[in-house]
Symmetry: C2
Subunit: 278 residues, 2 copies
Amino acid sequence: MQLIESIKEFGGWLNRYTHDSSTCNCTMTFSVYLPPQAAEGKVPAVYWLSGLTCTDDNVRTKAGAQRYAAELGIALVMPDTSPRGDDVPDVPERYDLGKGAGFYVNATQAPWSQHYQMYDYVTRELPVLVEAELPLIPGVKSITGHSMGGHGALICALKEAGAYRSVSAFSPICHPTICGWGEGCFGAYLGDDKESWKRYDAVELIRAGAEKIPLFIDQGTGDEFLAEQLYPQDLEAICAERGFPLTLRRQEGYDHSYHFIGTFIGEHLAYHAKALLA
Amino acid sequence: MQLIESIKEFGGWLNRYTHDSSTCNCTMTFSVYLPPQAAEGKVPAVYWLSGLTCTDDNVRTKAGAQRYAAELGIALVMPDTSPRGDDVPDVPERYDLGKGAGFYVNATQAPWSQHYQMYDYVTRELPVLVEAELPLIPGVKSITGHSMGGHGALICALKEAGAYRSVSAFSPICHPTICGWGEGCFGAYLGDDKESWKRYDAVELIRAGAEKIPLFIDQGTGDEFLAEQLYPQDLEAICAERGFPLTLRRQEGYDHSYHFIGTFIGEHLAYHAKALLA
């Protein structure tokens, strides 16, 4: 793990690292914001999973999250959205498949399976690495994200019972097995057997009996992808059916952008801090 | 003046407009953040002048300023950094001359003088326009900016006595007539007579007896442009000599980026709000 950039911000440090990922079989880049409190002792971490087309750069530049992390004394861990490098398969003409679109699954199909192992990367390799190398309290972590990364945050928390103290999401792709973005990626990465897709779908994981953890979600009503891609109503229905704890806030007039995220990220980080610092 | 984009943020609206500028002889684009309070009545405005290579987009995306503007009930007016369009002269291989580098002067030299009238644009045409069309309190405005835009904010406040309730700057180019960036632009836009350059130089304006207004400046000590381009020590010296009120904070370890701006923009906007809402 190599530090390639370090920028002072809100009294803490916004660092960028690269490392050779054994999970993704390539060099991966990620950012970590260490709040001022990390200079005095270990702090808990919130993982942020980004959406389609993003790298680690979008959230660190546009969300305004570091201010709240500094106030609350929590680190932010911001991975990339896919494997990277010249050897990594891609479909350059598509923003919603290949690089920038790892969808937080472990691909089983050629040519994707050699590198596209983002589920294991974000839930296993990355936490082990950063907890070993940085002033983070081992095992004390929460997770959130946006759009494809909101989907990622939900499935990580639903599949890894007990691993995350709390989970939230902005405009998540709630039911990827039935929306265009999800179908496109799952078909490529996981193959034709749609039963295998359900292991990476928040609605289907709850239907299959995932252990309960409260879900905290913000969704803009002016979101340009709401009707076609996100299906929060399906998550709402399955949670109601199964008595699964869900707080879904429909935020009037907000869109899908980082301006929406920035407006509510403070409340999300405060929510996570309450669970992490309890 | 045409509204071309409107994004809800912190309960207010981040709008982008275009208009035919009679000052710059081209179509200009700018953004305005209207806080929630603007739905109920007129609000004061802080003008943000951006640095080299920027458009109106950088600050609205990266500074995290809208949160504070919403809390304080002030609008943000964010102009572009130069005239734009195919007819506008440029030096594409240089980031520090031509488009993106208007330097907030009124050019007197061909081919620049036909469009590069950014001083009059930001101090005259733009305020008249937005005060006529938007819920802004006429004449109640402050100004700030970054780097080239910090220079711009300082000279606007120093030259337009009484026009701005308060002024601040991040990492301003304090003494452009003696630094590379300033010399390059001033020579092109204003010609060889260096006396004419002094009318757009904060240090020289104070030396020449500008009316006093407190200057509030943040400067990172880790700023990669500090030694070669910014010369805050010259501003400090002339202010000390003339008894000109200056608060210059050297912020240990901070760089020239929007991460630095984001860290302190809340304090700057609170400073302006105090003057604007008094």
